[in-house]
Symmetry: C2
Subunit: 240 residues, 2 copies
DNA sequence: CTAGGTGATACTAATATAGCAACGATCATT
DNA sequence: AATGATCGTTGCTATATTAGTATCACCTAG
């Protein structure tokens, strides 16, 4: 984290936002003890934070007393969407990129995950690409790799300390080598090891970089350069 | 507010979220004292909350030390957008409504304001309609009126206690009469008193209602019914 | 120079929160 | 049925954490 810790940081707010984000990124309703385990926070505390969020309307309790997003989440989405301004600038540019016939995506890094604002395979309507995917482990995603490469090695080490790294079975050194390569090239090219044998090409945008733009599909080595050029132009336009 | 206050509500989180929302809905960078005045909270407290948000990356300080949205706001937008699911469901439906040739909008109520997720006049690309407008006073907006009408009169009275009500110079009784009419009809039709002599037709969506869909433009009395039908069908499709 | 604005921090009082223990539900297994 | 292991939730109390005052340095306008 770049900004310094201030004189009297509000710990309740820090934990509260963490709880809110954990709630938002959970695809299914979750209970407080479950969420507490994910966050490594005392479950009673998480319970009270969730109840506070429920009071604000941001969270809501289902019939079986688990928690999920409430109506206030729409409000928060509208407000943060406007404040961020990212989609407003990016969407027209992203639509332009779809002419290549590949999947086009825009995402941001959160901890060791990538959260997608836009993710549209060819064929679907562009308007269906919004808020379609929640989270993916950063190391399984081109956008994740390119955004991780913006961090110092130390920070990445800290992030994956004592943990398995998806897609990098040999561990942290293998990941750091990949990140070094990405820094050198200025873009990420990763192979998706599923049945479809896809490749992803991704670049970062913003200064400092806080979002990534990517195209994925069947992309042979020779086709990489023009796609990178197009992505860079798009990133430049978005990042303004 | 519907949900009960729990045993130990976290006041720091409540004020922190209020600060976050006030920051997000401010079109320009703001200082902590200025924001404190808007929120009616002690300025030192707001300052510390802002610094905490800055530490989290959600806020950011400009060169002149004012605060504005930071990179973390993108993350929050992506997460809440996904969690809310509202745009994902609504956008394709909203695009369909544009065939009428009017401005199409989707918004949510926040305090006495309406925050827009989508607002697209005819002619512009649909993708430009996202996050385009921040806040409007609820009483100046068709969506605002229809969402206010979902509240009890008491709550509306509380909201506008000791305050001017935009568009309702005669005060609270005039507003309540309008809301009663909206409840009876099941939709809002309001006249926009600007140079263009526009009308807005709006309905609510969701159960309980937490968003509004509207069309605005030059809409004569006789054309209202089919538009309301189309809006209701759209609201039904969105609200699930 | 003053006057009034800003953001930021040290200090101390007091309050709001953390964490323990416990309760009633619910569910699966015995 | 009985058991045991979950779950969400709350009362309680010590104490960590926050609120609010006073104060600072900085800036701009007059």
């Amino acid at each position: 984290m770049r900004p310094k810790l201030n004189a009297q940081p509000n710990k309740s707010l820090i934990d509260g936002i963490a709880t809110l984000q954990a709630l938002a990124t959970s695809p299914d309703p979750v209970g407080s003890r479950e969420l507490a385990r994910r966050l490594n926070i005392d479950s009673v505390k998480v319970n009270r934070l969730l109840k506070t969020l429920a009071y604000l309307g941001i969270a809501r309790q289902t019939a079986d007393r688990k928690y999920t997003a409430g109506p206030g989440m729409h409000v928060l989405a509208a407000q943060s969407l406007f404040a961020s301004g990212l989609i407003r600038n990016a969407l027209p540019v992203l639509e332009g990129l779809r002419r290549f016939g590949h999947t086009v995506a825009l995402g941001v890094l959160w901890q060791d995950n990538v959260s997608y604002l836009f993710h549209a395979p060819p064929g679907i309507e562009a308007s269906r690409g919004l808020g379609r995917i929640g989270l993916l482990p950063a190391t399984t995603s081109g956008i994740g790799i390119v955004l991780l490469s913006e961090h110092e090695d130390d920070e990445v080490r800290e992030l994956y300390k004592d943990r398995e790294i998806p897609m990098f079975p040999e561990g942290i050194e293998q990941l750091l080598a990949k990140l070094a390569e990405v820094r050198r090239l200025g873009y990420a090219r990763v192979h998706v090891a599923d049945a479809r044998d896809h490749h992803v090409v991704a670049v970062s945008t913003g200064d400092p970089a806080h979002a990534g733009v990517a195209m994925s599909g069947w992309i042979p080595e020779a086709a990489t350069a023009p796609l990178v050029d197009a992505l860079r132009a798009a990133a430049n336009e978005i990042g303004g």
